[in-house]
């Protein structure tokens, strides 16, 4: 046994009945086993696994109280396992989560902290650092202060949807700490669970008086303002949050959305510039940023600010790494606005497989029709129909353009026949197109 201080030795009896899980696909298990051994944890209390399926199997069976997980296993898998562990453990039982990682970015740490990770062990660690952090967290869990005890009790009641009881406990907890921002934030979350956002906001406001940059209260008030449809107020809360903290990665799409709702389009441009300085960015964030910039471009188009719109679309294209969905949205916007030259330039940049996709070709046909190039629109429509592409709008364009170009009735009837076969429920509509356009005799 390694040397333990008298204080550390107090943990030994408390850990006697705890279950431990080490999810270690790489390398830390030796140090963690030594640590467990120092605290007289028996080998049959510890499970060591190397992958997510095995870890899930353990969590769903003998749910561990103390969970060590290497971040290399994947952030989403880590956070999912932590959530399941929390849900499956009996109320009031010991629960501690240690995330082991070389990554130490503020973004990762903030995300982990909001996912109920108790501690992050940064590699390379010294055994002393590992032990200190382990003891600190376990002591907090096993010998909590009266304030923490009250908050834990309230959290449990909140989880069980005993809202009145939870509120009473959180209110009592307020008296146990000179700066009870967390108690107030949890009280607010209880109101949020009851969909009483006005009351929740009062509690958050009170919490922010004690600590104007309180993370949970700023994020919580942002959510409540959004729920009440008060976008401007939500924006102010989010801005204060971003000023003092790192926004957790999974909440960034909400920030993009609120920027759009409040027409702070310059935020997206700023976001894009910062993202451009980073060598990598989470794919879902990049995709949200791309979508946001498209909306930004659409807004500029509405205001007839063509240059800014094109600039926003270009940024969206880059930010989303030419995500096909984003490219389609841009294309549709260019088509709707009748910007033919811009569309041609855009088309020259998109990958061939996207350029040749039926959706993009449809958009091209719509633009041709919109800009009066009926013959080319017809040629391309007929080519797609011949290729067996079945799109309602495609037949509609082929029929109407054929009529406008005064093609032979037999050819138009043939098109209507084909359209009716492809979309039987639309047959009357296709037929009506020809009837309507036939001049009265």
């Amino acid at each position: 046994m390694g040397e333990l201080t008298k204080g550390e030795q107090k943990l030994i009896p408390l850990l006697k009945s705890a279950r431990f899980l080490i999810v270690d696909p790489t390398s830390s298990r030796k140090s963690l086993r030594s640590l467990m051994s120092d605290f007289s944890v028996k080998p049959d209390q510890i499970e060591v696994v190397e992958n997510v399926p095995d870890a899930m199997h353990v969590i769903e069976g003998r749910t561990p109280n103390v969970f060590f997980v290497e971040y290399t296993i994947g952030s989403q898998a880590c956070f999912d396992m932590i959530r399941i562990q929390s849900e499956r453990l009996e109320p009031g039982s010991l629960r501690a989560v240690f995330l082991i990682t070389t990554q130490d970015s503020n973004s990762m740490v903030t995300s982990a902290a909001t996912e109920n990770v108790d501690a992050i062990i940064v590699k390379p660690f010294s055994f002393g650092m590992l032990k200190d952090r382990f003891c600190e967290i376990l002591f907090q869990k096993l010998a909590p202060t009266p304030y923490v005890q009250a908050l834990d009790k309230g959290r449990l009641l909140l989880k069980e949807e005993q809202f009145d009881e939870a509120l009473a406990v959180f209110r009592q907890a307020r008296t146990l700490d000179p700066k009870p921002s967390l108690a107030l934030a949890l009280e607010a979350e209880t109101f949020q669970a009851r969909k009483d956002h006005e009351e929740a906001l009062k509690c958050y406001e009170e919490a922010l008086k004690h600590n104007p940059s309180h993370f949970r209260s700023l994020l919580g008030s942002f959510d409540s303002y959004l729920a009440l449809g008060k976008n401007d107020e939500a924006y102010v809360s989010a801005r204060t949050l971003a000023q003092h903290h790192t926004i957790p990665a999974k909440r960034i799409p909400d920030m993009i959305r609120v920027s759009i709702n409040t027409q702070h389009f310059e935020d997206l441009v700023g976001f894009y510039q910062t993202a451009g300085d980073l060598s990598s960015m989470d794919e879902s964030i990049a995709s949200h940023l791309g979508a946001g910039l498209v909306i930004c471009g659409l807004h500029f188009l509405k205001r007839s600010n063509k240059d800014s719109a094109i600039d926003a679309f270009r940024k969206a294209e880059v930010a989303s790494k030419q995500n096909p969905r984003i490219l389609m949205r841009i294309l549709q916007a260019l088509v709707s606005a009748g910007l033919e030259a811009e569309m041609k330039s855009f088309m020259s940049r998109v990958p061939e497989e996207i350029r040749n996709s039926p959706d993009v070709q449809m958009a091209e046909i719509e633009l041709l029709k919109k800009t009066g190039q009926n013959l080319r629109a017809l040629e391309q429509s007929l080519r797609l129909i011949q290729q067996g592409i079945k799109v309602e709008k495609l037949y509609e364009i082929a029929i109407t353009v054929s009529i406008e170009l005064k093609r032979k009735d037999s050819l138009i009837e043939d098109l209507i026949f084909k359209a009716g076969n492809a979309f039987p429920d639309k047959k009357p509509y296709y037929e009506s197109l020809h009837v309507k356009s036939t001049p009265p005799t």
């Binding site: 390398s27 070389t102 130490d104 010294s126 650092m129």
Partner: protein, 133 residues
């Protein structure tokens, strides 16, 4: 301007480790297997390919600590040392946790490295507390 994201929020530390076995005069190919696990006053533990060496071998190691995602004022830190393999524990089919005791090293550089590791841990602890308090 107050941005939703700041480049510094994505700043992360990475380690590039190159290994040469002085006893066998062979270089260990750069690989994703190589990982820096644990540090102590007189040495460290690395995850290395099993073929990297055996007990008693001397390894010459270079560790370059980088701050990724930082485009300007990058502050790389290099630590070179020779260490003796004092323990090897199998981790998986192809890798071992190799404990090295320093044989030749710059004590001040190592102290700085340990200090910086402790600071990284402390700043992570502080950030978690700030979010959860």
């Amino acid at each position: 301007m107050n941005q939703w994201i700041k480049a510094k929020d994505f700043l992360k530390t990475t380690f590039e480790i190159s290994v040469k076995n002085v006893t066998t005069h062979t270089s260990v190919a750069a690989s994703t297997v190589i990982d820096l696990i644990e540090v102590n006053e007189n040495g460290l533990v690395l995850k290395l390919p099993k073929s990297a060496g055996a007990l008693g071998h001397l390894l010459m190691i270079r560790i370059v600590r980088k701050k990724e995602q930082q485009t300007k004022n990058s502050t790389d830190f290099t630590f070179d040392f020779t260490g003796k393999v004092i323990a090897m524990d199998a981790l998986e089919a192809t890798a071992s946790a190799v404990s090295l005791q320093f044989y030749q090293f710059n004590e001040n550089d190592w102290k700085n490295f340990l200090k910086e590791s402790a600071e990284r841990q402390n700043s992570v602890n502080a950030l978690i507390k700030k979010v959860q308090e």
